[in-house]
């Protein structure tokens, strides 16, 4: 008996496989974490954090203001003297403790992150949390080996590299797309090098950073070494502009990055910026098509496309364009969108109503400018913030969807004929964070990778991260690198003259 196609598809429906919420205990309210204590904001302000997939209010969180920023910076300054004077091997042990506790509590943190951010549990469980722990492990090991990192050079006598020193208080502002992972990228190298930290998580995703404050408590980290200030852009600006902050680290939009670059002009503050991107994912005609399609999907639909290094521009060689697009559309039709806590979910919720509105507006602009829009048949949940995976074909380099960072699950497809044309089109952007190359020809990988103006190039893979590997952009994607030995540099100054440690 032949099954109708409707019956066939229902025959292969997955049963829901929700991860339990009971592993995480979210308090009805949270304070700021300053000098080892949870405390209310000086002006008593609070804000609500909601679950993007249900719009359920998860908790009420204290909202940091200027006075709180000042208090936290002073706490970090006070803690700096002792923390920076600790032997590196002791700092290392604190970081190893933190790494271990993160591993122990990873299920709890994964569920929490999924609730607060809206990303699938599959991603928090299998990508975010393992990487968070790995970053603390990696930088823990550096804490007592800084003499070998090569940043302690002294100009006066050509000293070989021993004894680099920390900068002081690091003011760190992180985005909502990878709340805990970005925290790890910022805090682990800062602490390993002997700096103390004031970190402002994004206003839509403050919870995992506050849970991290509890991890610091469990690890016995001295008071004031890590301070967490949930808040909005005003708190971030106050932190970046605080005269007693020595180092600014920011991950977020290029527009804010430029504002930060202006605000630190003329100061001694050291700055690193990880900003936007419009990554090109280049598929050559000899690419393994099925693998490339998986890579395209990972490149733009991982974390709902809310990734600065997303492969949001697909550049496909004209001779295989049809084949690739057909396969891609087939694959997109199998993606499952819905409850992020369901272990079978591929695409979760957009992080906030504001972000959803931005994505919708840019997608509408794409249509208005004449690009052709396509999405698989996809039912969106009735509550929460959702956007179906979307392709634009017939895109030219001048189109807004080919130029502006959308930061959502929207892929713009362009074509090319020759490798030179692919490189020219890939580089035709203000950004320079990431790129992908798909081809079976090794020499072409190396030649193209060489010519791409991007900080990370993935060949025959995409969106791979590792704590040992420097990450960061060219051009307006920002400056500085995070990860690897390079990630230490932003937190270290060359050793001072004798006797002036």
């Amino acid at each position: 008996m032949a099954l109708s196609s409707a019956a066939l598809s229902s025959a292969f429906e997955y049963a829901p496989a929700p991860e339990s919420r009971s592993v995480v205990d979210i308090a009805p309210s949270y304070g700021l974490f300053i000098d080892g204590e949870f405390t209310e904001a000086a002006d008593g302000k609070v804000f609500k954090t909601v679950s993007p997939s249900t719009e359920e209010v998860l908790s009420e969180v204290a909202r940091a203001g200027t006075a709180d920023v000042d208090r936290a910076v002073q706490a970090a300054r006070k803690a700096f003297a002792k923390w920076s004077a600790l032997p590196g091997s002791e700092r290392a042990k604190y970081l190893f403790r933190i790494a271990r506790i993160i591993q122990e509590r990873s299920r709890e943190l994964a569920v929490l992150e999924t609730l607060d951010n809206g990303k699938p549990i599959k991603e928090t469980r299998d990508a975010d949390l393992p990487l968070v722990a790995a970053h603390f492990f990696y930088y823990a090991g550096w804490a007592d080996k800084l003499d070998h990192a090569g940043f302690g050079r002294r100009t006066a006598d050509g000293h070989s590299g021993a004894n680099p020193r920390p900068l002081g208080v690091a003011g760190q502002v992180i985005p909502w797309n990878f709340p805990l992972l970005m925290l790890a990228w910022k805090i682990a190298p800062a602490l390993a090098t002997g700096n103390t930290v004031v970190l402002k998580p994004a206003e839509t995703t403050p919870l995992s950073a506050l849970f991290f404050a509890d991890i610091c408590r469990q690890a016995g980290l001295p008071k004031g070494v890590v301070n967490i200030l949930p808040g909005y852009g005003d708190a971030g600006a106050a932190l970046v502009g605080h005269p007693d902050v020595d180092k600014v680290a920011f991950t977020g939009s290029t527009a804010v990055g430029k504002a930060i670059a202006r605000s630190v002009a003329g100061t001694e503050k050291k700055v690193t910026l990880e900003l936007g991107g419009k990554g090109a994912n280049i598929v050559f005609d000899d690419a393994p098509i099925d693998q490339a399609v998986e890579g395209i999907v990972t490149g733009i639909f991982f974390n709902q496309g809310q990734v600065c290094c997303a492969g949001s521009r697909l550049l496909v060689q004209e001779s295989v364009q049809e084949e690739v697009l057909d396969a891609l559309k087939r694959r997109l039709s199998t993606l499952r969108l819905g409850d992020p806590l369901d272990k079978n979910t591929d695409i979760g919720a957009i992080n906030s109503a504001e972000q959803l509105a931005r994505i919708q507006k840019l997608a509408d602009t794409g249509e208005a400018e004449g690009a052709e829009r396509w999405s698989p048949a996809c039912e969106l949940p009735t509550s929460g913030y959702w956007f179906a995976p979307t392709l634009f074909t017939g895109v030219t380099q001048a189109h807004t969807v080919a130029r502006d960072e959308i930061f959502g699950p929207v892929l713009s497809v362009l074509s090319f004929r020759t490798p030179d044309e692919a490189v020219a089109k890939a580089n035709n952007t203000q950004y320079g964070l990431s790129a992908g190359i798909w081809t079976e020809k090794g020499s072409r990988i190396l030649a193209v990778a060489n010519k791409l103006r991007a900080g990370v190039v993935w060949a025959n893979t995409f969106n791979k991260f590792d704590p040992t590997s420097p990450f960061g952009g060219y051009k307006e994607s920002g400056y500085g690198r995070e990860g690897g030995r390079h990630g230490l540099e932003a937190y270290l100054a060359p050793s001072s003259p004798e006797g002036k440690r």
Partner: protein
Amino acid sequence: MSTEQQNRLSVFKTYKLYVGGKFPRSESGRVYEVTDSKGNWLANAPQSSRKDARDAVVAARKAFGGWSGATAYNRGQVLYRVAEMLEGRRDQFVREVADADGISKSKAGAVVDAAVDRWVWYAGWTDKIGQIVGGANPVAGPFFNLSTPEPTGVVAVLAPQDSSFLGLVSVVAPVIATGNTAVVIASATSPLPALSLGEVLATSDLPGGVVNVLSGKTAEIAAPLAAHQDVNAIDLTGADAELARDLEIAAADNLKRVLRPQAVDFTAMPGTERLTAFLETKTVWHPTGALGVSGSSY
């Protein structure tokens, strides 16, 4: 014979800019008086305009592909060739530096020697910096992954005001050693050694446009460079604190890499900071196709 020599009128040199491998006068047609430390007239130097600055950026951009694409070995050879040419013109530079910096001939001789040695030092860095700041990353997965430094692009360099030659060489050589191209603003009061350096570069196998030398008012030339959307980085060594702040703000518009001014003793051995300040790190990943967990048969 001796009376003839006394009566002989020396031949003055018209100092010109060095842009795109050529020696233009300033587009503006302006010049300004350059004097020695005692106020004696030395020459009329071109007073560069905004247009000269923009032309220099165009030349530097045009040269970037070829220079950054040259092998590190080749760049080292070219830089060393510059040192050879400098050594050959030692007397000229000693004279110019003595006048420019207001120091004795013997002190100027030491300065020029140090500058030549500095240039040689940087020539040797071209094919080593990648090994110092790059490398393979031991990722936790079946991937091959390499980080390599690459030049950031066109760098605007404000040469130090008070070290007309050793300071100049110390800020220009590291920029081009790594494959960047440069638009250099010479010391405003003592531009002549810089303009003469242009003549040396022109005869040293250095492709035209890799280094472009402008003279004039530092603030006037630097402003359009700091705001220029096709300049990737700016070295503010020759700016005072107020100008440096203004230029850093302008540079934020396209997130130029900025090297802030700092007290530098140019006679001391430099570290790698001026090399790395204008480098990007590119990390390239590829799957290794790990052969499984069965292990080796050995």
